[in-house]
Symmetry: D2
Subunit: 485 residues, 4 copies
């Protein structure tokens, strides 16, 4: 496995193709717009080799028989899936934010593994080939210990229509050419987490495609710096503070980036193509992805909530208050954290073995968790702000620069002391600001799909008919409303 240093060196070697604010970032490991997310991802390499976290962050590969990063393994048991939830929580605990450049790619590998298997099993023309390629590539990837982000979200255009119904044919990433050596793709994948910190990108379709939409049913893996790929980083709240000195962006070794990845006729050799036109399987790939992602994302959100609970306790103390005055609020925070985590764990446990060997979590519980993930953290944030007081709510303190000012900086620090050293109190307040309305917010409401879609899916997967039968028995009803006489 790579060391953090080797990981960063691998990034340095890549062709610069990441932009922000109109500027090409020459070295993502040092540029202030990207270095924090790189540091966060590097921390995970450290974790995989550490005594405290090694067991969780690495695992013996069933393919090569060696210990590899867990982020590059096949998820084959409920325990593997629970480890996913745990690792996501731990990764957030350790970095303070999303390390999406690893977990999405990992999910994508597993979702596609199951889908490629199905294509092979069903005798789809290139099915066995897809399976073989994916396995060979994965063996290579495990050995190289690459960092892999995953990309599903297309620009989508008009939400009510699929790719075939759009005015703009590039509203979804498209195959524009196929030949003996590979395919050429054009279009974009947008809002992709962790691209700047990744060596490779694993692409999946963004939705199920229908007949006639073959050019959009495409899955492959590609080096992030491949010819024709341009990555433009999206903004996030208070992102310019990352360019400043001082603690106004309070976390140095963690940070989120989300990229608009533009594909300008990018060539993908067949060896790294896993779907190219099989519309019937495009929806399967997405569904496999969703089941895993929506189950485990609760761990991620719990990991953020842990930091909110702990920093709330700390800032209460810094304000001179006892945390027991906030017992009701803290209990609610803990309930929220543990709920998204626990529902993910239960979804993992109550899943099913896919014939490919992949363990797929419960569709019902995964989608229940997506609803929680789109609601509970908002309450946790509110509670953190309530406990922390006015300085954290909107980060209502003068800038780091002002606090160093010769004329009035000392006075400001004096007035910000609370019941402790002002620097400690300020950093805690900035941290709560960062977590709740600042650069540390991950996009968990819509990442992995929206709560509205999850509500539809959970209603569909809830066995309502069975419970209706129970009512029929209990009430000894021969007929039910709507049944013909």
């Amino acid at each position: 496995m790579r060391s953090p240093k080797e990981y960063k060196e691998s990034l340095k070697r890549m062709r610069p193709n990441v932009y922000k604010f109109g500027e090409l970032i020459e070295d993502v490991t040092t540029h202030p717009a990207t270095r924090r997310t790189v540091e966060g991802h590097a921390k995970l390499f450290w974790a995989a080799m550490s005594e405290r976290w090694g067991e969780l962050f690495s695992k013996e590969s069933s393919l090569i028989g060696e210990r590899v990063s867990r982020y590059l393994t096949l998820i084959k048991t409920p325990e593997d899936m629970v480890a996913n939830c745990r690792m996501k929580r731990a990764a957030f605990n350790l970095t303070g934010t999303c390390t999406g450049g690893r977990c999405v790619g990992w999910n994508a590998i597993n979702a596609m593994w199951a889908t490629a298997y199905e294509m092979a099993r069903d005798g789809v023309e290139w099915g066995e080939e897809y399976s073989r390629r994916l396995m060979e590539w994965l063996i290579w990837a495990q050995k190289e210990d690459i960092t892999l982000s995953g990309a599903l979200t297309d620009p989508k255009g008009d939400r009510t229509k699929g790719p075939g119904g759009q005015k703009d044919p590039l509203s979804y990433l498209k195959i524009v050419e196929k030949d003996d050596e590979g395919i050429t793709v054009r279009g974009a994948k947008i809002m992709i987490a962790g691209v700047a910190a990744a060596n490779y990108i694993f692409v999946l379709p963004g939705r199920g495609m229908r007949e006639g939409e073959e050019d959009y049913a495409v899955s492959f893996v590609v080096p992030r710096d491949e010819e024709g790929i341009t990555c433009v980083e999206a903004r996030h709240p208070s992102d310019l503070r990352e360019m400043e000195e001082g603690w106004d962006n309070p976390v140095e070794r963690g940070g989120i980036t989300q990229s608009y990845v533009l594909f300008d006729d990018v060539r993908i050799p067949w060896e790294r193509v896993f779907m190219a036109g099989e519309v019937k399987y495009s929806g399967r790939a997405v569904m496999n992805f969703i089941r895993m992602y929506r189950a485990s994302i609760g761990g991620c959100v719990a990991g953020q909530g842990d930091l909110m609970a702990a920093s709330s306790v700390l800032i209460a103390r810094a304000n001179g208050l006892q945390e027991k005055a906030f017992r009701a609020e803290l209990a609610k925070m803990v309930v929220n954290n543990e709920t998204t985590f626990a529902v993910g764990v239960a979804a993992s446990l109550l899943g099913e073995q896919h014939p490919s060997g992949i363990w797929l979590p419960s569709t019902l519980l995964s989608n229940v968790n997506k609803v929680h993930v789109g609601t509970l953290p908002y309450e946790t944030k509110r509670l953190a702000q309530e406990i922390a007081g006015g300085i954290a709510e909107t980060g209502c303190m003068p800038s780091f620069k002002d606090l160093q000012d010769e004329r009035y900086g000392e006075l400001l620090r004096r007035y910000l002391s609370g019941a402790t050293d002002p620097e400690i109190r300020i950093k805690l307040a900035r941290f709560i600001e960062w977590l709740t309305v600042g650069g540390g917010i991950p996009g968990t409401m819509h990442g992995g799909g929206s709560p509205g879609g999850a509500r539809m899916m959970l209603l569909r997967s809830y066995p309502m008919g069975e419970y209706i039968e129970r009512v029929r028995e209990l009430l000894e009803l021969d007929r039910l409303p709507g049944e013909d006489e």
Copy 2:
């Protein structure tokens, strides 16, 4: 295993000692105040032998190597504990209400098994003896396939004080004599579910006792009809309807009873005594019980919620409405149901092996679930009432008797037709009334302890200190608020 018929016959053979409304119930299997709960419990005997449910409701005993009722087994693995959650949900689905005469006793066996083991391991004087007795008794119980309720709740008197501080020394069940053959107990256990349907009662202490409170640290098992025991059934909403004919109490084969069990110098031979003065272990027994009970109770509540969701769909149809008009409400109901179930499943999985072989669920997640169980079902009930309309909200329909009245019964039925046969619509509305404000309400807010206590316990078991360390690392703080310089 017993058949439902054998089970009911065993009850018939017992000494009548159950009272309600000042009347001695001669036969609990036929008296309208108790027969529904007996029928509910009988259904579980059916389930254990059925093809559909047998796997869940029975299990091979690790003690006698034969298939026995799961309600009399040792819970030794996470899977056993998950089966507990599942069985509770299924039992509620099948009976429409609580079958507390089985699940509490089961929990008590397991909690005490672990506690007796600890006493033996620690060299407590009678420890090994307690373990041996419990095992031997359990082997007997499995063979007899008895129904066993469990009793913890003491009258408690003034809540701020323990047994030693009460004005009334019988505020907690008390050993008033010990001799060579056994102990004599006096006092009461109150609000005990399913006593009327039980053959035996397993008694545990109601709280941790302190030195000087030895006489209150007592655990034993006793036939429900033992000399000196009087059971007075508590009321519940609309319980007199159970005495009427017709559908105003809409469920015939399920019902809840909760008993005040009075102990008037009851003799317990040593062979069925598992604790008698070991104050140090009394709290352990309670804690072991709580971990199991609070984890699994979410299954119970989910089972009720399933019936609320399904009957909401049915009554919407009976009213002439499409259930899709209530999609947001139904999705919320499903989320609530699945959350209490899933948190219980996760608590089961994330527990730990007790050295006695018992699997104990996560204290943290069990208590998180207790909070959910004290809140989410209230919302589910509200939603059922919202969907169902005015006739279900307070059961606002004339009585069964009025609907049969020669003068106006036909007219009433006509006006209650909605979009279906009036009888179907009325039964559904009565069912929702019964589930939400009627005889079908289980006491899940306070059963197994109160949400307030659970909030304390979850705060204590949440590893706040660890997350504080994560904050310290992320903010690179040497000192934290409150730490000495």
Copy 3:
């Protein structure tokens, strides 16, 4: 104004036509199924003449210049409407439950006053006549100080269709004959509160009618004991306890009844008919009613919440606990109570003067309040149950009869002592049971229409277009999404 005694005598003089459990109630003032609601209504007559409440419960009539019951006055100012909210709250405080036999009729008078005015103003054939009749009748009613219930809800049949589309033409109350002297109506109004305690019933259409549905557009007032009217009382939770002795139904001078009022070719002389076919105005009448009712019902719900908050404090003390342990819960209860009250007050204030002189509350805020009234009290009930403990949650205590039993009653009382006299503690627990899952529950979720309908109406009355304009200005947008280029 009448004294409580005179009021009760007026009820005794009426023809018995109220049934429950297949039995004709000869005297509603003494029969246990109805006497509590009569006592509750009688209390309001006392209040009108008391020093403490007289100002609120009576008012100088603008028609006859004398002080009359406020329940028979015209609501002409915001202050009158606020007094409505206050009086509803006070009435609930004083009687422990709904006194729907007064407030609904009062609303109906005012809704119809405005509607009759509009018919007159618009030159509808009988419009002026309707107005004159209503005024003359009201003068008479004020002088007689009658008790007037109000009836809107029709059986409705299939919810998706209006009266014209039903299989059963009597799904809505129908005019089956018109002649020189009056009209004849057939059908029913159902779930009508307080009928047993009322002298008269004021009938309004249950929804807006369309052309072709003229026979259903009908409003009139009729003596409750008119020839052809049969009232069958609906059940409510634990209603049989009202037939028992003792405190299991803990309130003696208050109780709710809801009646199915059957009209079997009832003759109404023209002098008491206020609408008979004017479909265009039927919806107006309903809307006028809704605006008033949904505004003021928050007072009612607050009045119940006050009793829940106060009895929670008392039972906490009875349990030996300090109420400050429940500060968070009590604060939430107060917030809920005051919110439904305050939104009603604001709706009253922000209404508008109808040209008839009637003051109509804000449609927007009335409907907002209906949503609150269908949600917040459920949380308040949950909190009352949480504070009160297991004995109140499902009323889990033996019956009054058992507590008097010679064999074991004394023991039961001893074990129910808590930190006070057991009788006090038991009564408080029964009261919380009664308020939350017992006979004291008013039907506020669906009374005055359902939350779902209110959500539709509030969206329609919210000036979204205006706020869209504000967004346009702030963002300096020339075009908005959906506007043609």
Copy 4:
């Protein structure tokens, strides 16, 4: 009344003493850190003179008989107080954010008017003098049409202690000298809204003081640019975007500033001092302020909610979705907006006339509203993000600069089109980002005090004792728990 232009000229004439990022802002009307808040405040001058808003934003002065800005009038009737709620809502609607440089000062005038009256009435030594000074100053202020911010919040140090118990004597603003001409003050007021846009600052004590804390009981008015005053602007989320070009900060004519106002031995002549040592009245001043502020702040929050609801509708359309898919969400947003507004209106109406002529809103309802203001808007924000999709949740789009980039800007715009012109969709998404996690967030959780304090105050002002009496009567209890026998 001043025109916007005159207002801005008055600011230009002031001594520069506002800093941000270590830089002295020479002209607050043009510097990007302050010009938006100035523009927002200027809009209110426009409103006062406009046909559409003039009635609301101005009023005839009871002191000088001329029409003046409503922000400088005495609040003497419930209608005046309701106008406060309305104006706050309209101001937020018009500017997109807080215009705290007017409303806090206005509240302070009125709170102090009542307090000064009390001091005069009670014969406090300088009481009549304080009243006279305040009246004369207010007449002058009305004529000049000044902009007046208000300052209460002291640094506070250790929250558990008052000013007398702090390690640092300047934890609260302090009188350090008194002589014939006036007083000298030292210390700070922090997190003061709108200072940059104000001509004057009205200072009130930040809490009730006790004997021995006379030097901290101080109220006065002072020019914002007085000798010795230094204002350092606090940061807020994404504030550096205000320095950029383009739409990433999407609102040009509105913005919030909150200042740390440092008083370095500032001289205040007696003519502008309204309290100087009268500890007994310091708490009164704060309470008078709180009643007004917490009532009306709901209008402010509703005004923000209106913009969130409207922009949610617009972005749903821009995404190609129909808003009816979000009916449940939109209804909840409207309920939230109208609730905080309505509770404020009701608090206004149910207040009381202070003998000074000032109308004071209900303490109970004001504090209920503070709780809502600290919770409901968080849900509204969540809902806006849910409807808007991933691009708004964290503002996940490339920067304005990137969108103009020659190499890839056109592609980005193409992919951001949705179902409309990309610029419109982007601006709407940026607006929702700005409102929910960006520069547009006002500090309503803690502004005017924290929800925790409000919960204490509402419990204290709720007439629990009266409702306990009602329970006593209903249950016919002679004694209550805790009462002696």
